[in-house]
């Protein structure tokens, strides 16, 4: 069924072609042409399309299923954390006397503050869960085996970095729970033999939990570790693209002489 067009003023109506006039270019085609020209301009100078094809149009084994989306899900959880975190940083003040108050302000008084903080706060748990499920999928499907061992190792580094994010982010609201959880967490670090005591001094910025502890955790949480995670994700994705994904373990590889049967 064709819907009737909305009334259009005469000035905007397409004019009939005059005799002898060349074929008019439709405005939509002009827009399309401009887009193609822009993409061509960039591609001619970067050859990006080849890399894009390399990433996007890969061979995927038979039996690929929904479990294979857990990695992308973890990636998107990280992206969501990064975006909400950047905007939370616009309202948050990592000073020891003002951190709690600024958190309360951005949660209770800033428009959509509770929602954005909630996304970041719950999203962190979601990310940890997704990373674990992704690791479990890799383990149970045997996808860590040759030649993908290095990608497993990078994944373990990513898991540790994710845990570091959870640990350092927990302190930032600076309420009683954050404070004591961090005291306990830093002391657990301290029980490591020989290096433990120095590691906890490094984390606290001194022998006592003090003014530098919060800013230290903040810097680790928003500058140091996210950079590391982003770089590691880059390496992880490069190796996935380079090596391809594995077939699920319940699919057996066919020998070439079996094909005829």
């Amino acid at each position: 069924m064709k819907l009737p067009l909305p009334p259009v003023p005469d000035a905007l109506k397409p004019k009939p072609k005059r005799p002898g006039e060349a074929e008019r270019v439709h405005p939509l085609d002009q827009v399309k042409e401009a887009g193609v020209a822009t993409v061509d301009w960039v591609d001619e100078r970067t050859s990006l399309s080849g890399g894009l094809r390399w990433v996007m149009f890969r061979k995927v084994p038979k039996g690929t299923n929904w479990f294979y989306t857990l990695g992308s899900a973890s990636l998107f959880a990280f992206l969501s954390q990064a975006v909400t975190g950047v905007f939370l940083a616009m309202y948050y003040d990592p000073s020891i006397t003002n951190a709690y108050e600024s958190t309360r302000h951005l949660t209770n008084e800033v428009f959509l503050g509770e929602f954005v903080r909630g996304m970041h706060r719950w999203g962190s748990s979601v990310m940890v869960i997704l990373v674990f499920l992704h690791m479990a999928r890799t383990f149970f499907f045997g996808a860590y085996k040759y030649p993908r061992e290095l990608n497993w190792i990078i994944g373990v580094v990513l898991l540790i970095l994710t845990m570091t994010m959870s640990f350092t982010g927990y302190l930032l609201p600076f309420d009683q729970r954050s404070y004591w959880a961090t005291v306990v967490g830093v002391n657990i670090n301290g029980t490591g033999p020989l290096v433990g005591p120095f590691l906890s001094d490094f984390l606290r910025g001194g022998a006592e939990f003090g003014s530098t502890t919060l800013s230290r955790f903040y810097a680790i949480h928003m500058l140091l570790v996210p950079g590391g995670i982003a770089a590691m994700i880059g390496a992880h994705l490069y190796l996935v693209t380079r090596l391809g994904t594995t077939a699920p373990p319940w699919l057996r590889a066919k020998r070439s002489d079996e094909d005829a049967v």
């Binding site: 830093v186 657990i188 301290g190 029980t191 020989l194 005591p197 006592e208 939990f209």
Partner: protein, 226 residues
């Protein structure tokens, strides 16, 4: 050139017929320039990375605030049979976070071991509320004459020695002294299960008996008693 690959090259540049080579020279100019350029890169990276690392870790590991003494009341306030909680400021300028609680009592010759070395803690005993499991605040309960930790159930007896639960050593002590008619609380120190004094106080969870005193070394510098 094709058979040049098969024969091992001489290590002397002169033998290899390089222009400008001289007697005994083994390092080619290309090799030298390579090493120089890469060495310059290493120096440039170290020039910013080492100070940055030292900046991040140095003051955390080596700086210690000077010892401070906080008055907590006249000597009559404290008895040998019960503890009195006193809030002291462990770190100045950071509000509530810098405060900590000490439980103070008079020295009791019947239960306390003689001070070692003499002159320390011979009049008043001040215990830190830091639980020696993982650092939660303990509370003194007079009816039971015990310190109890709310986090993981650590229990300490009247002297602060571990009686139950996960803590690894007795509660930390503070140095005490009497000055201008006031009992004053000074820096913290740790004790092991024999109440031996460790002037460089350790973090909670760090055992100080047996091998623990070696695998949990003290800090590089700690505030002096005075």
């Amino acid at each position: 050139m094709a058979d040049g690959r098969k024969e091992p090259k001489s290590k002397y540049t002169l033998d290899r017929g390089m222009p400008g080579a001289f007697e005994g020279e083994t390092v080619t100019r290309r090799h030298l320039m390579n090493l120089t350029a890469q060495g310059a890169g290493v120096v440039a990276v170290a020039a910013f990375a080492l100070p940055a690392l030292g900046f991040a870790a140095g003051s955390a590991l080596f700086d210690r605030p000077p010892a401070t003494w906080s008055p907590v009341g006249p000597p009559e306030d404290f008895s040998p049979d019960s503890y009195v909680p006193r809030v002291i400021t462990a770190q100045h300028g950071i509000g509530q976070v810098g405060k900590t609680t000490a439980y103070v009592r008079r020295f009791n010759p019947e239960i306390d071991s003689p001070p070692n070395p003499p002159g320390i803690d011979n009049e008043f005993i001040a215990l830190s509320t830091r639980c020696m499991h993982l650092g939660c605040p303990v509370r003194y309960i007079q009816a039971a004459q015990r310190f109890v930790c709310p986090c993981h159930g650590g229990v300490y007896d009247f002297r602060g020695d571990v009686e139950g639960g996960p803590p690894v050593r007795p509660l930390d002590h503070f140095y005490t002294r009497v000055s201008n008619g006031q009992v004053e609380i000074g820096p913290r120190y740790s004790v092991n299960s024999e109440f031996r004094r460790f002037p460089s106080y350790r973090d909670p969870g760090e055992d100080l008996d047996g091998i623990g005193q070696y695998i949990y070394p003290g800090r590089f510098s700690t505030p002096k008693k005075d």
